[in-house]
Symmetry: C2
Subunit: 184 residues, 2 copies
């Protein structure tokens, strides 16, 4: 594997596990068997390395979203979205951890401001499109509430409760939305 990629992968892992502020570049070098000089040859600062990592996680999210077939009914798409969210959160825990971490840390939040804005606008828009097709009423507020629900679940699962009944909650959430819109 080429060393630049290696730096990115190890840094992603360490930033996720220990937090950005608590991971020194020296630690990244040590873990990935690379000299300090090389890191600063490829990335002009530690901050810049984080930006590259965060940038590529945004692409990952966008791709995840685009994999949802637009020919299905909006309710099906919503359920697919919920499903893929729960699958992701379980399988790629660290990925979500890093995202929560940098978005709630004032310094990194500031550093990544433009990227976060871009990403959140994209997500909001995707959800709005689905909601608009299901139920034109209160599209805006319902979209925000839906996003808050998922984000809150991620936050509670990863950071707050340590025996979070994820399956139970997933089923209840699905039930809720099915009930809400199947009746109409």
């Amino acid at each position: 594997m080429d060393k630049k990629t290696q730096i990115i992968e190890i840094a992603t892992q360490l930033f996720s596990e220990n937090g950005f502020e608590n991971t020194s570049i020296s630690k990244v070098c040590e873990t990935s068997n690379v000299s300090k000089g090389l890191v600063f040859h490829h990335f002009k600062s530690k901050d810049e390395l984080l930006r590259e990592i965060f940038s590529s996680t945004t692409e990952k999210i966008i791709k995840m979203n685009q994999s949802i077939n637009t020919e299905n009914s909006p309710l099906t798409r919503l359920l697919e979205l919920i499903n893929s969210f729960f699958t992701q959160i379980k399988e790629d825990r660290l990925f979500f951890q890093l995202n929560l971490n940098v978005m709630t840390q004032p310094k990194t939040r500031e550093l990544l401001n433009d990227l976060i804005k871009e990403r959140s606008a994209f997500i909001l828009n995707s959800v709005k499109q689905i909601f608009k097709q299901i139920d034109a009423e209160n599209t805006e507020a319902n979209s925000y509430l839906f996003i808050a629900e998922l984000d809150g679940i991620a936050l509670n699962y990863l950071g707050i409760f340590d025996d979070y009944p994820l399956e139970l909650i997933k089923n209840q959430l699905i039930k809720k939305y099915k009930k809400k819109w199947n009746l109409k």
Copy 2:
């Protein structure tokens, strides 16, 4: 004001504004006109100072919760809870910021693990009690979902969207729960 209290107040403010990891004790001293030695006289480490601060914010949350009159109907209490949450989040932004910050930062999350567990158990229990009285069905899952909703709103408001339509969302949330349980 006595200097110990002063240290706590300034530290709370700076930790909230800039994050725990990004606030040095020197900065706290400088801002509160106190010597470094005094901070370590009153608190045996920077971590211990954070624990005291976090501990007292938990008490604040518990008091906030206890102020809700248990003689009212469960639906009224739920609406009161929602209302006080939205009032708090607007008026005491920094308080929520700090909480999000330390709970999503692996190092501080670890440090405060016992306190976080205690606090989250308390909150879950309070919500469960209300939900049990309104609707015995799926009490557990619905309580978790409700908490996720509020936490997600806080996260989105404070960390993700920077023009979050808080009022709109509050109204929609209230409408949703009223509709759900007034019909029965």
